[in-house]
């Protein structure tokens, strides 16, 4: 590691420690790091949008004579009508475009991936003769009861209520499992950071002495 890199990595290590100081309590170092990350990332995104969206998706096609790109250009400019109190309403068509196309794309995809595919996958052979069949039956019962929990047209009382309660139990087991599975990934992130600090300080010590 050269001196320049040692200094740059020192900056990074200092910022890492600033963030971790938050774990003790809010303090000026954390505040500094917090405001820095917000400012830098806002600038970073401006870059990303300028270089990956504005230039290649609007300016370059327009320069290449694809005149229809003027439409998104106008829609985009209309958003700036928000700066004026009087002409604010001009930004609404753009909102309509973004929200409408978002909803339109989402509807068939949600139905396909989260409803029909799931229904298809849940139609499992059931029975009482072997363990896999019993497990399948259990899956279907659990899906049923959990769906009952999301049923709004009926009070959760009696047998219906019992099913919904069993449904919520299923959900809780699922949440517990989800939590347990995630711990490892989060610890991996911490380990990566600690290894970074460890290696940096080892380098620093060997450079100094």
């Amino acid at each position: 590691m050269g001196t320049a890199e040692l200094i740059w990595n020192g900056v990074a290590a200092f910022l890492v420690l600033c963030i971790y100081s938050f774990l003790y309590k809010d303090n000026p170092f954390y505040k500094f790091a917090e405001h820095l990350v917000v400012g830098v990332s806002a600038g970073y995104f401006a870059m990303i949008l300028y270089y990956n969206a504005f230039l290649p998706k609007l300016i370059h096609p327009l320069l290449a004579g694809q005149w229809w790109y003027i439409i998104p250009g106008i829609l985009g400019l209309l958003m700036w009508a928000r700066f004026s109190r009087k002409y604010q309403w001009l930004s609404r068509p753009t909102l309509g475009f973004v929200i409408g196309s978002g909803a339109g794309v989402a509807i068939p995809l949600y139905l396909q991936n989260y409803v029909i595919r799931q229904v298809h996958a849940t139609m499992l052979p059931v029975g009482f003769t072997s363990w896999p069949l019993i497990t399948n039956l259990l899956i279907i019962i659990m899906v049923f009861c959990s769906l009952t929990y999301f049923y709004f047209s009926k009070q959760h009382k009696g047998a219906f209520g019992a099913a919904a309660t069993f449904g919520i139990w299923t959900l809780m087991i699922g949440f517990g499992a989800g939590f347990g599975m995630t711990v490892m990934g989060r610890v991996a992130l911490l380990a990566e950071r600690v290894v970074f600090l460890r290696d940096y300080f080892a380098e620093l010590l060997s450079a100094l002495f």
């Binding site: 971790y20 774990l23 003790y24 991936n113 996958a121 499992a177 989800g178 599975m181 995630t182 711990v183 490892m184 990934g185 610890v187 991996a188 992130l189 911490l190 380990a191 990566e192 600690v194 290894v195 460890r198």
Partner: protein, 281 residues
């Protein structure tokens, strides 16, 4: 406040401190962890191990530097194993922040094994819209990737001469930190019947067991632990070695183990405190 109540309401900063100390201490003084290999990770390993020299394996790398800690070890281990078996490798990247990272991996490992670009491996590079790209590759690799990452036309690469689409690769392994996996399953496997295995982050692992169960994927490497299992197998066979610092996920396993134990202990302490203080009342 009684002892048990104090135990129950321990300040969170003690939890943080203990976790921090344990992680740092384990990072400095490591120890060996016994390893159990899950069948879903072993089946990926066994498959790659069964490749005959000259056969082509495809790896789809779809992740950004943020999840490198968990996924990079898998990419490295599989690439090394594949080259050690003298199999050929076809790579592509469907995540916008990934292409440079993949290039690094392949360049480094190819050098280790004296493999030549265009003959022993081809790196196709990056294209946006994974769904469309995968569908197109199912027809012909040349539709989305007329040239490889370095700008050479595919037709002038010796390895690509007899390769049209997924029918010409033995299997695809997708290593992914996001939704790209869905597309590989739905399109590469679902539509074109390509043999598919995946390596995903720990958070995502749970989502893909159903596909393993239904046979849509033949193997699954799940998160840091899956990567460590793979490294364990690869090390035993001599494809990677601890001396050359080629095991990363395994190095993190002691930290995982101690941290998990600490968290579990804290949960137990909290509950003991809760029960005992309730009993006193």
């Amino acid at each position: 406040m009684s002892f048990y109540e104090r135990m129950m309401n321990l300040d969170r900063r003690w939890v943080y401190l203990v976790i921090g100390v344990v992680v740092v201490v384990t990072a400095i003084w490591s120890f060996a962890v016994p390893m159990y290999v899950t069948p879903e990770a072993r089946s990926v390993y066994d498959f790659v191990d069964g490749l005959v020299p000259g056969e082509v394996l495809m790896i789809g790398v779809d992740y950004a530097p943020e999840v490198m800690a968990e996924l990079h070890p898998m990419t490295y281990a599989i690439t090394r194993q594949c080259f050690a078996k003298d199999a050929k490798l076809l790579l592509c990247c469907l995540h916008q922040n990934g292409p440079g990272m993949v290039e690094q991996v392949i360049a480094q490992v190819a050098e280790e094994y004296d493999k030549v670009n265009g003959i022993d491996y081809v790196y196709l590079g990056y294209k946006p819209y994974p769904a469309i790209t995968i569908l197109a590759m199912g027809q012909n690799f040349r539709i989305p990737f007329p040239e490889d990452y370095y700008g050479t036309p595919l037709d002038s690469l010796p390895m690509m001469r007899n390769m049209t689409n997924f029918d010409n690769v033995k299997a695809i392994i997708n290593i992914s930190g996001g939704s790209g996996t869905e597309y590989w399953i739905n399109y590469a496997n679902g539509r074109y019947n390509a043999k598919l295995a995946i390596g995903v982050t720990g958070v995502m692992t749970a989502d893909y067991y159903p596909f393993l169960q239904s046979g849509q994927i033949f193997g699954l490497i799940g998160g840091m632990k899956g990567a460590a299992e793979y490294e364990y197998l690869a090390e035993k066979a001599g494809y990677i070695s601890r001396e050359k610092d080629q095991l990363w996920a395994s190095k993190s396993m002691p930290i995982q183990t101690t941290t998990h134990i600490v968290i579990i202990l804290f949960i137990v302490i909290g509950n003991v405190g809760y029960f005992m203080s309730k009993r006193k009342k």
